[in-house]
Amino acid sequence: MKITSSTASPAATPAPRLQYRLRHSGPLLALLLLIGFNALITPNFMSMQTLSVNITQVATIAIVAMGMTLVIATGGIDLSVGAVMALAGAIVPLIFLSSAGQDFPLIMTLVAIIAALGVATLCGLFNGMLVSRFGVQPIVATLILFISGRGLAQVLTNGNLQTFDNPMFEYLGSGRLLGVPIQGWLVILIAAIAVFVVSRTRFGRYLLASGGNPRAAELAGVPVARVRMIAYTLCALLAGLAGMISVAINSASDAARNGQLMELDAIAAAVVGGALLQGGRAPFIGVIIGAAIIQLVRYTLLANGVPDEVALIVKAAIIVGAVYLQSLRGGH
């Protein structure tokens, strides 16, 4: 059996290849247009300050969207990412603000991070188990944690805002390396690993095959259930990481707000970036561009005095436009 990666579709003649390139560089062109538009219109756009604000803002969306892309590649969807963010984000300060955390700051901060990522992983295993072992539809399966995950985070924190002062943890939010926010580097690192795994490893081929045609994949010996399990687990793990980053940025954890509507942003970024909801594709670079487009549209509108509410309507139009263009391409 030969599984061809759909991102490297074979083109017989040069003309279709060019056409193919043009069709698939839509998101990049859109991003460049947005940057160009801002450079001309928005005051102080071409500054390091603006760049790093946007990188900080886009990093959490991009990280969650990459996890979502894994799940979407298997033909699924994960509604629980925002709730997982809230849960992971609530656990970290809870642990290092405890009395043990005050006594052993270094160790307990590490313990807190590991605990938060561990809980996020458990959430992913829960979703994955429901979807792959029990055959529950992804929307319904992830709906459970969508409802109760944020509730659990609020139970843990009594619904209170937890503020803290922990320079080591805050580095995750406001640290810089070579002048670029640390989250920016994290996005690049995760994207590099993700692209490598999907294009060069057996798991990557299994992932795309499981979404493209699960029945055929199953018959060909792909362990579809295990692949799905791993996809949901990684998605939740990345959501947990994003939850911690957003808590670190604010030096405060608010279980009610952390990650709210993130599932929508992540799905939107994935779809704008070229992921197909039917599964079978995992265009990580495109998804990061999609996240950047969504962030930049919001920034453009805000910087030019358009209220945030209008940005929601524009975001809706972008999502519909992107999916409509996808359907015109006939699904590929």
Binding site: I147, L152, N158, L312, I313, I319
Partner: protein, 325 residues
């Protein structure tokens, strides 16, 4: 024979189970709490849950056709704002304005899904964002006060015969119409056929596209009416409400035993599902009142999720063996 029995259980077992569950919960409440079986609790329960029953019924239609509507909550919030804005002109103007707002949102969903062929999940997600944005823009992100001198507040605050809220009475009327639609009208049959197998439905000459479009329009109308109740009952249009309602509605439909795969669906069972979720909260509030424990609203979210989990596992247990025949 056993297959037949199993199929019967799969088709009707859970809905019967949920209705029995609702009765058991009512019995439990009556025996345990002094004021549970009071007219006051009954009418406030019915009044508060009218909104959720409405959007659940709309959601049931959409799910029957194999779709999903994520926009119902924010559409209800949007129509609560438009209805409140027109409340000074009286109920006879504000009510149609709110319902029309919902119908328009539903028509937008139908256009995107049936004509533009956008997946329902994405199309209704876009409408969710757009409705929220529009509600915030026209209300200036503040609650919109209702004119107290008009008859608009009667709908959400007054009862018929001392206990039946007008909102629930209207919901029952809508519910009977939708039940007739599903069980007896051709359009309802086509909706089911479209959800079961669209290609076959089309080959048989049924216009499944129209049927699916109607499902979204009706669902939007239900959300619009729920928004009118929201504004009327709380005395203000609430632009920030509604987020999460779509999931309550989906959960209610699932609890009622309708599978999300389409082709099946029961209005009474969905209503029972919505009432069951509502009752659990009502009982939790009474339990809190007794002081045996003090569960915050946050615990209620966790319990709601756990409850959904149990129902889903039961559904899987009942329907799984059928996959093999």
């Amino acid at each position: 024979m056993t297959t037949l029995v199993r199929r019967h259980i799969a088709d009707h077992g859970q809905s019967t189970g949920v209705m029995i569950g609702v009765l058991l919960l009512i019995l439990l409440g009556t025996l345990r709490y002094d004021n549970f079986a009071s007219l006051y609790n009954l009418s406030s329960f019915l009044n508060y849950n009218a909104m959720f029953v409405l959007i659940t019924m709309g959601m049931c239609l959409v799910i029957m056709t194999g779709g999903i509507d994520l926009s119902v909550g924010t559409v209800a919030a949007l129509s609560s704002v438009t209805a409140a804005g027109f409340s000074a002109h009286g109920l006879e103007v504000a009510l149609p304005v709110g319902v029309l707002t919902g119908l328009a949102a539903g028509a937008l969903n139908a256009f995107m899904i049936v004509i533009m062929r956008i997946p329902p999940f994405i199309a209704t997600l876009a409408t969710l964002l757009a409705a929220k944005g529009t509600a915030l823009v026209i209300s200036d992100a503040r609650t919109v006060p209702v004119d107290w001198t008009s008859n608009f507040t009667q709908l959400g605050m007054n009862n018929v015969a001392g206990w039946l809220p007008w909102s629930m009475l209207l919901t029952v009327v809508v519910g009977i119409a939708l039940w007739l639609l599903v069980e007896h009208w051709p359009l309802g049959r086509v909706m089911l056929a479209a959800g079961d197998n669209e290609d076959t439905a089309n080959l048989m000459g049924l216009s499944s596209g129209w049927a699916r479009a109607w499902a979204y329009v009706i669902c939007g109308g239900c959300a619009g009416l729920a928004g009118v109740f929201l504004a009327s009952g709380f005395g203000a249009g609430q632009p920030l409400e509604g987020l999460g309602w779509e999931l309550t509605a989906i959960a209610s439909v699932v609890v009622g035993g309708t599978l999300l795969t389409g082709g099946r669906g029961s209005i009474p069972a969905s209503v029972a599902g919505a009432l069951m979720l509502g009752l659990i909260f009502n009982l939790l509030n009474f339990e809190n009142g007794l002081g045996t424990f003090n569960l915050s609203a946050y615990w209620q979210m966790v319990i709601r999720g756990a409850f959904l989990f149990i129902v889903i596992l039961l559904q899987v247990k009942i329907t799984r063996p059928l996959a093999g025949d």
